[in-house]
Amino acid sequence: MLRNIRTEALIALLLLVPFFAVYGLVFIYPTIQMFITSFTDAPLIGAGKWVGVDNYIRLPKDRLFILSLWNTGYFVLLSVIPGTFIALLVALGVNRLSGWLQTTVLALFFLPYILPVAVVYFLWDWILNFQFGVGMHVLDFLGMERSPVFKTTTWFMPAVALVTIWWTAGFSFLLFLAGIRAIPPEIYEAAALDNSGPWRTFRMITWPLLWPITALVLTIQLILQLKIFDQVYLFSTGGRPNDTMVMVQYIFTRAMVNNQGGRAAAIAVTLFVIVIVISVFQYQLLRMAGGSERK
């Protein structure tokens, strides 16, 4: 069919006006601004003097920056792998159910993911309350000493990781379930003919075929948890926020509390680069996962 390229380009441009307006204003402009600010000594609001890479040179010597980097990594380690593992187990279990039972159990596992972080915070702050929390009975049962977990530096990250897994595993679980359902049933029928037991079937069929999804879930979770702020911030109020600082929280603290926009921007750029590098890697995985799914 004959197409008038010129009119078509004009129409395209017209239809893209809302997109360009939004992305230009709150995405492209702020991103460029962040990079520029990171080379200045600007306060939170207003311009600053150009200081070159000073803000970056300071980072390795900044104790709180190193700590926030370390805490973020520690949190990622505590949440990503166990969370993915639990989501996989649950998906395998739910996949075996059928009818209303499956629908109900699926909803029960997914519901926490749909809640606002503030709700998750209040639920768990109450459950792990030092004086009256039901969670303390679990510690008693395990023979451990009761402790105010969110006010203890040692317990803070594991506890927040536990809460985060509870909150976000539903998402990974859905992806695993989609992956399991995409495996053609004929493969299992063939395995059954071969007298394959549950463990062997999982190890030889389900696990290898799910590997692309597993890799995808791991990287999505990794990126998501690197950007953690909400839970850590909420649970650390009244605790020791300086000991449990994570990267986004440090950007927030430098900018909003210390009024140092330039130094905050340098931290933001660092996190930005880390996330982009991992995302490019994830994109490659996604292409692999998509490729194997389409067959």
Binding site: M1, E8, A9, I11, A12, L13, L16, P18, V22, L25, V26, Y29, T31, Q33, M34, I45, G93, L97, L101, T103, T104, A107, L108, F109, F110, P112, I114, L115, P116, V117, A118, V119, Y121, F122, L123, W124, W126, I127, Q131, W166, F171, L174, L193, G197, P198, I213, L216, I223, D230, A255, M256, A264, A268, F272, V275, S279, V280, Y283, L286, E293
Partner: protein
């Protein structure tokens, strides 16, 4: 399959089913416990034993949260912000997805690349620039100020493009023959054919926005402009901590999204799976 293997599968299946159901009940327990606690009088709340049902059921904490706090205002703010973000995101993403999927123009590849790249950018790192921008526009403590930085959802554009790509070419060609304008083709052909995915995407954008914490938390300093999730964490009673009251407020904060999910389970599941790049 021989008899021994079959027996092994049956035993395994039974155990797996029981374990899954028990684990599901444990998983939902924190929510159940929050609800039960919110229905107990304060003196019952702090008893050391685990009481799974209140002795004296009370709704006083709910009426307190609804009538003695600014929750009503916060609901209004949350609804306005979530609806605003949803409408702008869906409309602009739909147009953009259509243009990339159906039209030919110079720079199309570049635009697609830009959208994909923006998918990777951690929005949280932009908080400083966003704050400066919104403050500069004089929009702190306004709905518009809370809405603007939350409009970046490139994944919605990507999903729309994929769905529009799957519309058979004949439909568009027939419409073009009839001299229909592009906007008309989008409205009369592409959107009606993709109504299901539009509903699903709108629902999850609404849920994401309702749940957002970091930006609404930064953009608002006046308690009467807060969204629900920010409001309940920032405003405390002046006289000590009342667990049941806090939990009642928290449950009211989560109720709209929980109900939305329970009503639109299929759509939510589909849109969330698609947003991760997997065909649901």
């Amino acid at each position: 399959m021989n008899y021994a293997t079959l027996q092994r599968w049956n035993l395994f299946g039974g155990i797996a089913t029981v374990l899954t159901v028990v684990f599901a009940l444990l998983w939902i327990f924190p929510i159940y416990w929050g609800i039960v606690t919110s229905l107990k009088p304060e003196d019952e709340v702090i008893r050391p034993a685990i009481e799974l049902w209140p002795d004296n059921l009370t709704f006083e904490h709910y009426s307190n949260a609804l009538f003695n706090t600014q929750l009503g205002l916060w609901y209004l703010n949350s609804v306005a912000v979530a609806v605003g973000v949803t409408i702008v995101t869906i409309v602009s993403s739909m147009l953009c997805g259509y243009v990339i999927s159906q039209l030919q123009f110079p720079g199309r590849k570049l635009l697609w690349w830009l959208i994909f790249a923006s998918f990777m950018v951690p929005i949280q790192t932009l908080i400083i620039s966003h704050f400066e921008l919104i403050a500069g526009l004089g929009l702190l403590n306004t709905w518009a100020g809370i809405i603007l930085p939350q409009l970046i959802h490139p994944v919605i554009i990507i999903v729309y493009k994929q769905f529009f790509d799957n519309v058979p070419k004949d439909f568009r060609e027939a419409a073009v023959m009839d001299n229909a304008s592009e906007l008309r083709i989008l409205l009369k052909v592409f959107i009606p054919m993709n109504w299901g995915i539009t509903t699903a995407l709108a629902i999850v954008v609404f849920i994401w926005t309702w749940n957002a914490f970091l930006w609404p938390f930064l953009a608002v300093t006046q308690s009467e402009m807060m969204t629900v999730p920010v409001g309940i964490t920032q405003v405390n009673d002046n006289f000590g901590v009342y667990y049941a009251r806090q939990l009642a407020a928290a449950i009211l904060a989560g109720l709209p999204v929980a109900l939305t999910y329970l009503i639109f389970q299929r759509q939510v599941t589909q849109a969330i799976t698609l947003s991760a790049g997997i065909k649901g």
